[in-house]
């Protein structure tokens, strides 16, 4: 199977705190891959690094055979001090244009814009008006609640509706790789189930590769093919999701059994 995303030995620091320590992992084309771990383990940082929002201290990120992020090496002129320069090979907007869409943590909807305008922004890179209109109709079919609220300001939507809107917005550009940062955070169990069902459909029918980060380990492992477990900025376990669900360590630490 083809590796769509390859993360090789990356580290990210916030000042003196190392948020990611030599993380390596990969996402195969067509899969749903999940990354579970406690709050503060570095999961969101990893997603931000992929889209070029966090500079790498070491390592490389390759997407679809192309190097998209790499670390700038130590700067000898700065007296051997590690310079925290912004290192991604591509800026975030250029990475987005390559077909990676991130649904960020906390949804980050454009609250003062309507649902429809938010979707228009998701399609900013698409220059074909007919295609945009078609995509919007698809989204309104797929998430009927968004169709009903298309002229409402996004701030008036509930948390679950905003999450659906953030996912729809990310899908407007027809990405190859969809990154989801805690899609279930703060939502009611039924709403979470609904969202995970949608994610499965997006993966199976639209052939979008999905990489999701979740604290809700059970939900995430059930929804995915492959799983990684992160602790304190390191990958500590990697296996098929089914095997992780049976793993004693995982069951004790993340599934509360």
């Amino acid at each position: 199977m083809k590796e769509l995303l390859t993360i090789d030995d990356i580290s990210v620091s916030y000042g003196n705190i190392q948020a990611l320590k030599h993380v390596s992992m990969h996402v195969n084309e067509g899969d749903i891959v999940c990354l579970i771990g406690a709050n503060g383990a570095g999961k969101s940082t990893l997603l931000k690094a992929i889209v070029g929002q966090e500079p790498l201290v070491s390592g490389t990120i390759t997407y679809d055979g192309e190097l998209i992020c790499h670390a700038k090496h130590l700067d000898p002129t700065a007296g051997g001090k590690r310079r925290k320069s912004h290192s991604p090979t591509f800026t975030t907007d250029l990475i987005a244009r390559k077909g990676i869409a991130l649904v960020p943590e906390g949804r980050r909807v454009f609250a003062d814009m309507t649902v429809e305008e938010n979707l228009d922004m998701g399609a900013f890179m698409v220059r074909d008006d007919a295609l945009i209109a078609k995509k919007k109709e698809e989204m309104y079919d797929f998430f009927p609640i968004l169709g009903a609220r298309r002229r409402q300001k996004t701030r008036s939507l509930s948390g679950g509706e905003q999450q659906m809107m953030a996912i729809a917005r990310a899908l407007m550009s027809s990405p190859k790789l969809l990154l989801l940062d805690e899609p279930g955070l703060g939502l009611a169990p039924l709403v979470i189930q609904d969202i995970f069902q949608k994610i499965a459909i997006i993966n199976q029918e639209d052939k979008v590769t999905v990489f999701l980060v979740e604290q809700n380990a059970r939900m995430a492992l059930k929804a995915s093919n492959e799983g990684y477990v992160m602790e304190n900025g390191r990958i500590v376990l990697a296996d098929s999701s089914a095997a992780l669900l049976d793993n004693e360590q995982v069951r004790a630490a993340y599934l509360g059994e």
Binding site: R97, P104, R108, F110, D112, M113, E117, M121, F124, M125
Partner: protein, 306 residues
């Protein structure tokens, strides 16, 4: 005294002045909306716009008598001035503000004050400190409509400023780049995730704001003098208008500008504030707004982000 017609007379004068304030206030508010920074060189851009317009108009007009050509020449001069200031605004942003985008918030502010001095002093050096007068582009014989005296200049000022505001509003609300500007002002990081080139949006914002200031400068030049520091007080008042309307809010800048123009006119004409104290009206209003509704008339109270 026909007090009703007198009221409309002052309203007309206030609207004219307010339209100009609004055009200039838009530049402050658009830049603030995206960069959270007050471009204190904005007032000097309107001065540059007035000079460009004046020179281009003089060159085109030659000795032609007032008529269709002089009016056309005025409009061409306005377009050239808009283009010139648009480019100037983008260059200033690239050279003086962009390198400081990650610096403390005070740094670009100081840089802006520096740019302001450079612009006004360069104008004084190149064109002299004496004030100039823009020749009339058409006859300015006032007409009386229902007891209200209106000059053709006022009609032009009103028409141009309101057309510019409507076009801007349509652009911001309906076009792809306009929506991208709004998205960028709401959440820059997420805008980038959509594939929006934020640097490009920022350049566009400076270009549009500066082009509107150029129009404001030329409209001022119709009735007032052109001199190197002409932008200082007007720029400051337009900034007050932007704050009164709610800085960062486009409609707010329009409302704030028009309101300020009307209140200044009424303050002198109706409430009897001496002409010499006219400039204090704007700042008095600023103090009241900051005390009563600091986020401005149309601004939203911003919650501190944790």
């Amino acid at each position: 005294m026909g007090s009703v017609s007198e009221f409309f007379q002052h309203l007309m004068n206030g609207l004219t002045l307010g339209g100009i304030y609004a055009l200039i206030a838009l530049g402050y508010t658009m830049v603030y909306g995206i960069l959270k920074f007050i471009n204190f060189a904005h007032g000097d851009i309107l001065m540059v716009g007035a000079y460009i317009g004046l020179f281009v108009f003089d060159g085109l007009r030659g000795d032609a008598p007032l008529g269709v050509w002089t009016f056309t020449a005025f409009l061409i001069a306005m377009l050239v001035s808009m283009a010139g200031c648009g480019v100037l605004g983008m260059v200033i942003e690239r050279v003086a503000y962009k390198p400081l985008r990650k610096a403390t918030r005070l740094a670009p502010l100081l840089s802006a004050i520096g740019v302001s001095f450079i612009l006004s002093n360069s104008a004084a050096w190149m064109f002299g400190t004496q004030s100039r007068k823009l020749a009339y582009p058409f006859h300015n014989d006032s007409i009386v409509v229902g007891g209200v005296v209106i000059t053709p200049h006022q009609i032009l000022i009103l028409a141009v400023s309101f057309i510019m505001m409507i076009v801007l509003k349509l652009f911001i609300d309906n076009t792809r780049m306009g929506k991208a500007m709004r998205a960028t002002s709401l959440d820059q990081d997420t805008a980038r995730l959509m594939g929006i080139d934020v640097n490009q949006v920022i350049s566009l914002t400076f270009a549009i704001g500066s082009a509107l200031a150029a129009v404001g400068g030329m409209l001022i030049a119709l009735d007032f003098k052109v001199y190197p520091t002409m932008g200082t007080m007007t720029g400051l008042k337009a900034f007050v208008a932007a704050v009164v309307g709610g800085i960062g809010n486009i409609t707010g800048a329009m409302v704030g500008g028009i309101l300020l123009g009307i209140l200044e006119t009424f303050g002198v004409a109706i409430f009897g504030i001496p002409q010499g104290l006219k400039d204090t009206i704007a700042f008095g209003i600023l103090i009241i707004i900051l005390l009563v509704k600091p986020e401005g008339l149309l601004g939203k109270a911003e919650k501190e982000k944790v």
